[in-house]
Amino acid sequence: MVISSILLGVFLFTLYVSKAHSYLSDNPETCTNCHIMAPQYATWNHSSHREVANCNDCHVPHNNFLNKYYFKGKDGLRHATIFTLRNEPQVIFIREEGSEVVHKNCIRCHSQQINDPKLSASVEGHQAHMQDRKCWDCHREVPHGRVNSLSSVPNARVPLPESPVPVWIKNYTNNN
């Protein structure tokens, strides 16, 4: 009994300190639980997408609820593993599977602009290009800019996780 409750306690602590509950939400601040996401957060926060789309709107599939959480869980566990093993590259690029998801999400929101026959003449080959390349092969700055190394936004104001120690304990230890 005692042994298994210690096990459970450590398990709960791990959940708490990793802010596991936050991963169920769509809040962009969740993504900066890992501080290496600061460039992605800061560039998004300075883009026009800030007002209309959060991280999950683009980076997880929205075709159905189960697929959303399956993909999120899969991708998230991979990220968490790499981050824990300190295996992150200096410049993070999106992988093929992820970029498929983002591309479909571009179309999901912007279908009006892409499919409207009145607009199809204004950009030559817009319809065809949608099939043979990714949106950002042309719209290259949207929304994060072209390349983001880990050190690309040294002084960005990003909501990084604060100390997990509760305020009352800090106050108590400060008083002593």
Binding site: L7, T14, H35, E51, S149, S152, L160
Partner: protein
Amino acid sequence: MSSNFKITEKHPWLSWFIFSATIIVVFVLGLLASSIVERRAEAVYVNVPKNEISAFEPRNEVWGENYPREFQSYYGTADSSFRSKYNGNVNIDMLEVDPRLVVLWAGYGFSKDYNQGRGHFYAIADVQNTLRTGAPTGSVAGPMPTTCWTCKSPDVPRLMNEKGVVQFYSGKWERIGSEIVNTIGCADCHDPETMNLTITRPALVEAYERMGKDIKKASHQEMRSLVCAQCHVEYYFDKTVAEGANYLTFPWDKGLSVEEMEEYYDGREFSDWTHSISKAPMLKAQHPGYEMYLTGIHAQRGVSCADCHMPYKSEGGQKFTDHKMQSPLNNIASSCQVCHREEGATLMANVYERQDKIIENRDKLEELIVHAHVEAKKAWDLGASENQMKDILMGIRHAQWRWDYVAASHGGSFHSPVESSRIISTGITTIQETRLKLARLFASLGFNDEVPYPDISTKAKAQEFIGLDAEKMNSEKIEFIKTTIPVWMKQAEEREKSYDIAANN
């Protein structure tokens, strides 16, 4: 439970197995947890300054050693080469461009001198050089209070902290001339420890408190406008707070619209000055840039001041906020075009179109108010009584307040063209109603001629018309700049030598 015990009784090794397996799992889980703790702790060290910056450090150069990119871009505000159709960062003599202003501000400092503001870099030089602050000498006091320094320098929060806020607002402008030497900069908006945006001027905090709001609860995105709203707002000097103090106050108690502020001022029977021609109790709109912006479409879509005036900039693969605050028209690619995918020239034309249309009616309103001032003087000359003039003078006050609110909101015709037009049109209605009253008053006084519009085609003629001795003002100012300013700077240099951290340049 009992069955479990039975199993372990049968196989004593099993309990040992569970025991050691749990040790391993807890050990590994502990390792994972501490690894997470470590990586979380890294976040604390993402932004650690090279040199420690002490609280209230006013010298931008000291901050700049930690943040060279932001600092260098900040010095971009020294550039005075951009002139847009109406504004920009060139030192334009606005009284020369529009001599009607001289008459509208007759009896008030602005009729002496009013220039297009240059970049933050020149905040102190410009306030020292303007004729409005006069040429105080040891024996002759200047016309302005210390409060005029409030928005000019990060030395202000330092001084307020050292001496107290009321004490800061007390006395004449020249009293602290040697204390205020570092131009608007880092410590005006940033917390020296965390680098987060922070409010350093009491007036904004107090205005929020009186509205029942807590500025500490503002989000980061709101703060990216609120730090600007410490200064780019309508304000007045309240003389009733403390004896001898000109307490900087925002008139937001009833609300942030032009009418609500007017009601606030009327309720307190406050006036900035009495007009020297019409004797009307006037209000000077300062620069309600923030209030006007709030009524515009960009604010309604969540765009902050910094989004357009301080957009992201990339240099050698690093992105940072461009601290050269300036007209976005001088940087359309990084500001407007982040959201608007039109050609730069088209966007520029869109801005100018709004400005042209607002200024068309604004100029008309100016002309009508000049008429009203000289007509009111004529009425006094014809022997009108105070009672007969009361409503007329209030009409002039309200119309000019509305005109000034738009004129002084710098960029208001773009930030909020609809609200700007609305305010100008209420100004035109008010002043024409007032001139109708004036016409009826003339009739009762037996006068039925047109009061001639004065010849105010140049600044010099307009200043002569209101009785200003421009030559004397100018020569005194030149003397002041030559003799007093260098003394102030010398004293400041001596004082800063005693600071803990030396500036390296």
